[in-house]
Symmetry: C2
Subunit: 113 residues, 2 copies
DNA sequence: TGATGAATTGAAGACTTCTTCAAGTTGTTA
DNA sequence: TAACAACTTGAAGAAGTCTTCAATTCATCA
């Protein structure tokens, strides 16, 4: 039965791997948000946003509820904030490492190695 | 200058979004590991593994050092373990939620709704 | 009821990423 | 130096994901 865990993990990370989806998840951390507001905050076509929202819905990480004429999205209770924090920390480390590398290369260059 | 943070994040998660890359990162959490051992542990062609290792290297999340005839990979100091833990937690929540949903559907079915 | 606004869907082509194959490095050992 | 082992690389087709467009749904308002 069932998908191996490392495969489920890979799919999960792939689901996160899109700038619009990241922005949506970050905005939803501030509280449930109507599509209208997401559209105002993110530079993206309505139909494109819908597609990305559909990906998040299918993954079960967000929920959509209709309030008469607007649809409101919310995080499905899971702790996305924590994940984003951790990702930011690692990312900062990685970018820092790259800067150090760049600095070394610059220095090496100055010494014309 | 520079890529917006949400885009860097998306790229970072995409880099994690492959079963072989996940397995490699998990194995490297146990300590530096020669390619040979990775190959023995993961069911993948050598050249395919190399391609995936190259992705991780380019991202700067692992380092490779050559010890005569074997190449040893290691985590580049960043706290990947934490990320994996968080991902597992969220994933567990999500899968649990899906099971509950399935159970509900089963019940509804039994009552022939 | 017909028109409008808000959001979603399906489908098609553009674009990326994956896998695989053959060829290339690098370092060791005979 | 030739042969070998351990990895890596480049390239090409297969597979998957993105964006966009036109069409659709759903609920309100005139």
């Amino acid at each position: 039965m069932s998908v191996p865990l490392y495969q489920a993990k890979a799919e999960f990370f792939r689901m996160l791997g899109h700038p619009v989806r990241i922005r949506v998840l970050e905005l939803l951390q501030l509280g449930p948000t109507p599509v209208r507001d997401l559209l105002a905050a993110i530079d993206v076509e309505p139909s494109n946003l819908s597609q990305q929202l559909a990906v998040l819905r299918r993954a079960g990480i967000v929920t959509a509820t209709r309030d008469s004429t607007t649809v409101v999205y919310a995080l499905a209770g899971t702790d996305v904030a924590d994940l984003m924090r951790t990702a930011r920390r690692i990312l900062t480390d990685l970018l820092l490492g790259q800067e150090e590398l760049l600095a070394e290369l610059r220095d090496a260059d100055a010494r014309s190695e």
